[in-house]
Symmetry: C2
Subunit: 354 residues, 2 copies
């Protein structure tokens, strides 16, 4: 089986870790011999924008549709305002390719440590299902009376029945597929009393079709407290675009480092390619130094391979990653002293033993 992968390293450490991930994927494919990857790299980045005036060419989104999956590094660079870079690269891809789910698993990998006192490996094992197409990221709003002394800015969060139903169904399916069959829905409908109330209502409606799933509801503020003080009580979590963005970064930190956390931007209809990216950003301060933690990138690569149907390869890659973290070969953010290449070499070596 040959899979066509579009690779978009993007900015900063996105470049370092994408290179590392592609090496690991190549080693995986060669070692197992069960699938091949044909990778095309796109230089869509802030550098591109600064020299040529665009992130992707006009037909960029159409080009991506020809691929089986997209591997994404990171985007964002100090000399371009963040809302320009994001709304010209990562966010249009998520939206145009109908990647309405963003799956963000978090657990404490072997050999790594949670910053929480007494939080051991089995105590924190979550999957955050993030709504990825609307809500607070709907993109509407504006500024009136700009540069007067009475300017007004707005942001319109939009929640649609279709959008809510499909993310809830995905979240319930995810919860059902996990041993504990537990789903926590996050909301802030006490203060955000309009659209968010629809979010709540549809959650309970969809729940009727999943009576085997154990549900509960948390306000987003109280949820952070529960994540810190009672991590074991959580399993699958569903939240809006913004809430889940915040909670997933917190989750990564509580599992040890933002550098290990993966994400999958999925179109569950499979009519469009899905996109896989570590949740960390472009980290301009350490870009190009070869010291970025590639584990989040490897884990994202494993999720990509899994989505393509290569379960065994994905499991093998995860084992290889954890053998390396367990052996203490890790970057500074995890308390080690290895650089990106050393970690990558070690993971490749583990893959070769599969």
């Amino acid at each position: 089986q040959i899979y066509r992968i579009a690779s978009i390293p993007g900015d900063g450490i996105g470049v370092d870790i994408t290179e590392a991930a592609l090496r690991v994927l190549a080693t995986l494919s060669t070692t197992l011999g069960t699938f091949e990857l044909e990778t095309t790299t796109f230089d869509w980045s802030s550098a591109n924008y600064l020299t040529r005036g665009h992130y992707m060419p006009e037909d960029g989104l159409t080009q991506l549709k020809a691929f089986d999956a997209i591997y994404f590094g990171a985007v964002g660079w100090p000399s371009v305002p963040d809302h320009i870079s994001l709304w010209n690269l990562i966010l249009p891809i998520r939206k145009a390719l109908n990647q309405y789910v963003n799956v963000r698993p978090t657990r404490i990998l072997a050999g790594t440590k949670s910053p929480l006192v007494g939080c051991e490996r089995g105590d924190l094992d979550w999957v955050i299902v993030r709504e990825n197409s609307e809500g607070e990221y709907a993109g509407q709003g504006g500024i009136s009376h700009e540069h007067s002394d009475h300017a007004i800015g707005t942001e319109l969060a939009i929640f649609t029945q279709v959008g809510i139903e499909r993310i809830m169904r995905f979240a319930f399916e995810t919860a059902r597929s996990r041993p504990r069959k537990k789903l926590t829905m996050v909301t802030k409908s006490n203060a955000q009393r309009h659209g968010m109330v629809l979010w709540d209502r549809i959650f309970y409606e969809v729940a009727k079709g999943y009576e085997d799933v154990d549900i509960d509801k948390m306000l987003v503020d109280a949820m952070t407290v529960r994540m810190v003080l009672n991590p074991k009580s959580l399993d699958t979590i569903v939240a809006t675009n913004l809430h889940a963005d915040i909670l997933s970064d917190l989750a990564a930190a509580l599992s040890g480092s933002i550098g290990i956390a993966p994400s999958s931007n999925l179109d569950p209809t499979r009519k469009n390619p899905s996109m896989f990216e570590p949740i960390h950003g472009s980290a301009p301060d350490i870009a190009g130094k070869g010291i970025a933690n590639p584990v989040g990138a490897f884990w994202s690569a494993a999720e990509m391979v899994r989505w393509l149907g290569e379960e065994k390869a994905a499991d093998g890659l995860m084992r290889a990653i954890e053998n390396v973290t367990a052996a203490g070969v890790s970057t500074k953010d995890l308390g080690g002293s290895a650089d990106t290449k050393t970690v990558t070499d070690a993971v490749c070596k583990e893959i070769e033993k599969l």
Copy 2:
């Protein structure tokens, strides 16, 4: 000096902890003899709503204006939808009385422990300045096509120049008054590219008047990571209504318990009374059992007394509270086994020694 206090115990443990706070305040006033409190209690609550159809009477907000300060317990009860209870009691008070600042200090009190490995007392000492009048809590939005299969819900976040400027100025003044003179501004203007961009711009404009304050900017998601992994690097923090709501609960958890954290809803113009409330909610599960942690309520009472101009009394009350936590007299959430009354008795005893 006599101060007129409006007390609104509200729901659940709000009742328990308000009673405790009023006892402590009475002891403080009697012991020091420097000021008197004349307290009027209002039974505005979910129980009131369920029997009489309203939280406060029609002239409730006008009644409150006659007081020097408001002490608030908690609101929210399972038999009333949260958005009804909040938008009929706490949120109208904050808005109508121009309490546009919500100040939320967090530190690790003597004798209490952070859940973070190696995080000692001096390592976490923050003040979160929350915008309290607009943003994601502006209250506009709605649902169209309700109960069709294509309903749409919206929430409109509104950021105004007046609203942003005044909260930024307050935040800079707060930062300036603290030893480290450090202000971190939180935003998500990379994804929320309209109103939130105004938030950023005005921050930098106001900053020009505060060159002695050291500033930086964080995205709200990355901010949670920094709070967990590098608490010492933060001091004063300014964020929108929703972002600060989330971050302040997280802050309380990282300092040991949501039960200790205070908040001050301030009208800095002093044309209206300000309101003081612990940040925890009504906790229906432990309501009326006499086991709620009253420390957040006491700390809020200290902030009230400070706002009224009684600095010495406020400092004395804080000392009394910390003498008690240091002695290990604490409720279950802090690892102790004392009930509300035991903690309250102990604090009163400490006050009598002042």
